[in-house]
């Protein structure tokens, strides 16, 4: 029972839903290089049609809907994970170039590339010999 928590943590703070399924917090990696921030989220069961990414002001919301795929006439022998939707909210800084955000989904992993705005990229200042 507890082992499902390795992969999934239930999202207790998500707004109440009409859909009668649990909502989980996807596990994420966030890292940056000099040009962009990258966000990788493990969301097994979603594809490009069932992921929604919304950016409102500074708030980036990732949601994923998973069809439950119930198998009829089958008894559960053991269960380590539950099927449910995903939701997670992040607050972005102003330094992201919103128009150039790229999102892809592959094998149940959402990958978001959030390019930094030109003005915040580190610049090297050449020093002239006097």
């Amino acid at each position: 029972m507890l082992e499902k928590d390795i992969q999934k943590t239930e999202n207790v703070s998500a707004a109440e839903r009409i859909r009668n399924v649990k909502t989980f917090v996807p596990r994420v990696d966030i890292y940056e290089n000099k040009d962009s921030l990258f966000l990788l989220a493990d969301m097994p069961g979603v594809d490009e049609k069932t992921v929604d990414i919304e950016l409102e002001k500074n708030v980036l919301t990732i949601t994923g809907r998973v069809e439950n795929g119930q198998v009829k006439d089958a008894a559960m022998m053991y269960s380590e994970y539950e099927i449910g939707d995903y939701e997670r909210v992040f607050t972005l800084s102003d330094q992201i170039d919103r128009d150039k955000i790229v999102a892809t989904v592959k094998n149940g992993v959402l990958r978001l590339e959030l390019p930094k705005a030109e003005e915040v990229k580190p610049k090297k200042i050449a020093i002239k010999a006097a």
Binding site: M1, L2, E3, K4, D5, I6, Q7, K8, T9, E10, V12, S13, R27, V28, D29, I30, Y31, E32, N33, F38, L40, D42, M43, P44, G45, V46, D47, V71, D73, A74, A75, M76, M77, Y78, S79, E80, Y81, V105, K106, N107, G108, V109
Partner: protein, 165 residues
Amino acid sequence: MMRIKNLLPTVARPAARDDDHPFYALQRQMNSLFDDFFSGFDAAPRALAAGGFGAFTPSVDVKESDKDFIIRAELPGVEEKDIEVTLSGDTVTIKGEKKEEKEDKGKNYYYMERSYGSFNRVIPLGAETDAGKASASFKNGVLNITVPKSQSAKARGTKVPIKAG
């Protein structure tokens, strides 16, 4: 197994003020903190068996119907070609590796919650199977395996009707 939350006293509260009172928000956060913390301990033996603490281990659901076993495993970020499913007698083995992206080495991490590495899960089914007719599919990071039961296993489960005397 019992969730640790069940051991902690809960405050009976009216549903309407659930969200607006800071105390309840704090309580909720504490509950989830305890849950996360203790679930990590409970999970440790399996993670260690898979080759180190924090290594990737897929979560597996197993269902049984009259005719077959349906196994579903969550393998986000694993490539189809990196998964190996083997069947022998009454056990299914799922092997594979979740590879980390290599191209972005030397990156600065803010969050590292996902895990990588090779995994190996052996799932006992408890009944003879018809290995020749097993099928597997992989879509959106979810592996589905259907293993039909063997004739003898099906026969063993036959119900005997009881007549009223």
